[in-house]
Symmetry: C2
Subunit: 342 residues, 2 copies
């Protein structure tokens, strides 16, 4: 059971032991040896501290040191399975190193992202792991200029030299499209989010290159991230399917796949048996869907580990010391039934 920590403070401990707060502070912060504090003094302090289960007030510590031991993890939407999974891993890694994580969702919206950063700036957040919304390059830049550790992921700003962890979007998309073509599909559609953000631009480029290589037509549906509600999204997909006589579709992200599958189930069940389907981002349910859905799977664990590695390194050394780390990870192609010509 948690001790009812009766608001112990350094001062009280010092009084109790008849020594100064400095001594206690030094001992507690592992500077005892360095400051040549006697072994018996050290032992005495440690024993008492343990006895009362003393926990220093982190706020005071933060106010004094300017460090909060808190990392912000900002994604588009924390309820998205993909982000939530990464968040979970980040959380574990961070806790092991004594950091707490504040999660937040920016809805891919600049204003929301800016608000959030602004709020956090005045809480001495130690570091930021961010999926940037399209227009906050300058805000990110100013964070970096202030020497605050920032690591982007999922996407980055080509014109901003900073740390990031991403995947080989173009290549993954190219390979995926090629896989569809090799499986005999000829009229391959691409359903994506209407944005200039590079992860999506690259996924589209990979698709286009693969399609053009084989002199096939490209059929692209762009849906606004903030399309009015789920139903509007689905309606667009439905119309797209009706208007184009496609034999396969590549979805650029998991939530579009989900909408797409819903549309297929609701309006074109007969297509489920033959339409080629390939999706970015794997999901546990894709393997038990009928047909099972082939996926371009992002290495969540690896992404999280890399993000934290970079972050922890930045946390140690002032950001400007070293070259920004640009990490590009490989995706894994998971062929299932939905991409086999049936």
């Amino acid at each position: 059971m948690i001790k009812k920590s009766k608001k112990y403070t350094l001062k009280k401990i010092a009084e109790k032991l008849n020594i100064s707060v400095t001594t206690v502070s030094f001992v507690l912060n592992g500077q005892a040896k360095e400051k040549k504090i006697s072994d018996e003094m050290i032992a005495k302090v440690l024993a008492y501290v343990k006895e009362i289960d003393y926990q220093p007030n982190q706020l005071a510590k933060s106010l004094r040191t300017g460090k909060s031991k808190i990392i912000v993890f900002m994604v588009e939407d924390i309820s998205n399975q993909f982000f939530a999974s990464i968040a979970r891993i980040i959380e574990d890694l961070a806790y092991k190193k004594g950091y707490k994580v504040i999660f937040c969702s920016n809805e891919n919206n600049d204003e929301k992202a800016r608000d959030l950063i602004n709020i956090f700036k005045h809480r001495q957040i130690d570091g930021y792991i961010i999926i940037p919304s399209p227009g906050i390059e300058n805000d990110i830049r100013s964070l970096i200029e202030e020497g605050i550790p920032v690591v982007l992921f999922d996407r980055y700003f080509p014109s901003l030299d900073t740390n990031y962890v991403v995947i080989d979007n173009e290549h993954a998309s190219y390979q995926g499209t090629k896989h569809l073509i090799e499986n005999g599909y000829k009229k391959i559609g691409f359903i994506t989010i209407d944005t200039q953000q590079n992860q999506m631009v690259n996924r589209m480029r990979g698709y286009q290159i693969a399609v053009e290589e084989k002199d096939l037509n490209s059929n692209i549906l762009r849906i606004a991230f903030h399309e009015n509600g789920q139903d509007q999204k689905k309606l667009k997909i439905k119309k797209f399917l009706e208007a184009n006589d496609l034999d396969a579709i590549l979805f650029s992200t998991n939530y579009l796949t989900q909408s797409g599958l819903e549309v297929l189930h609701e309006s074109f069940p007969e297509l489920l048996g033959k339409l080629g389907i390939l999706t970015f981002d794997d999901h546990e349910f894709f393997k038990i869907h009928t047909p099972s859905i082939s996926a371009i799977s992002q290495p969540k664990k690896e992404i999280a580990v890399n993000l934290m590695n970079v972050m922890l390194q930045l946390l140690k050394k002032p950001a400007k010391d070293s070259e920004p780390k640009n990490i590009t990870l490989n995706t894994e192609f998971i062929p299932r039934v939905s991409s086999q010509h049936r």
Copy 2:
């Protein structure tokens, strides 16, 4: 773009305007009128503060006031869709009221939960929304005794009089089982987590009552929450299915359903077409699964809204003032194909 807030402080503002920090503080905290500060003074301060986009240091404020404007949201596993969705809603509601949310996963493990609470206790966390692990009743109690706002959800401790928001587990489970029976199923299995926590106990009781009412046998599989890995879980389910000639299954929680469906797809695909399947917790993918999976759906939005309402109320008034709020919400039964006798 975010202003490069050059570390403005109350003191600097006061110096700049040739007034005292007190005055600035009063104006900024809306106590100007009350303290009878002249309108022109107020205007002057507000104008300057706006000009420099001053943001008070929250840490200092917290240290002084003992309030952090941070709420902790602790669940079993934040990567679980169900919890992540609720987290997302909580996040939004909290931000609107000026609160930040720290999410964390306790893995239904007392030690982890205790560690987390301990860490947070010394950060002046304003309130806790918690899914309690089985053995932390006393820790929760001591939090409450210290007057810290706590709201439990998903489950609670019958012997601890505190705020909670839960659903009518027994009734939902009873109704669900009855639905299966009415649809002609007779050998209904129940797959659940091996725990004494009341949400699960109640779900089991609902099942048992419904089954006994009709003189049917009960077949229960209990799986440890921390069963060694996903594969062990699946193996147990597989053996359970092999050992019992069931015609329907009620899963007590979404991740068991997921494992169960995987087992069915991998080992008993022929059962998918006829086995009655009903699950606690709806998931977007259940409606596009083949067959679509009937679900006992928890009202996520309502849960989140109620949690925040109670929390905000506690945040306003000292916890001990009012009677603990015990809120029980209704679930929604969503009949789909999997529970119809086919």
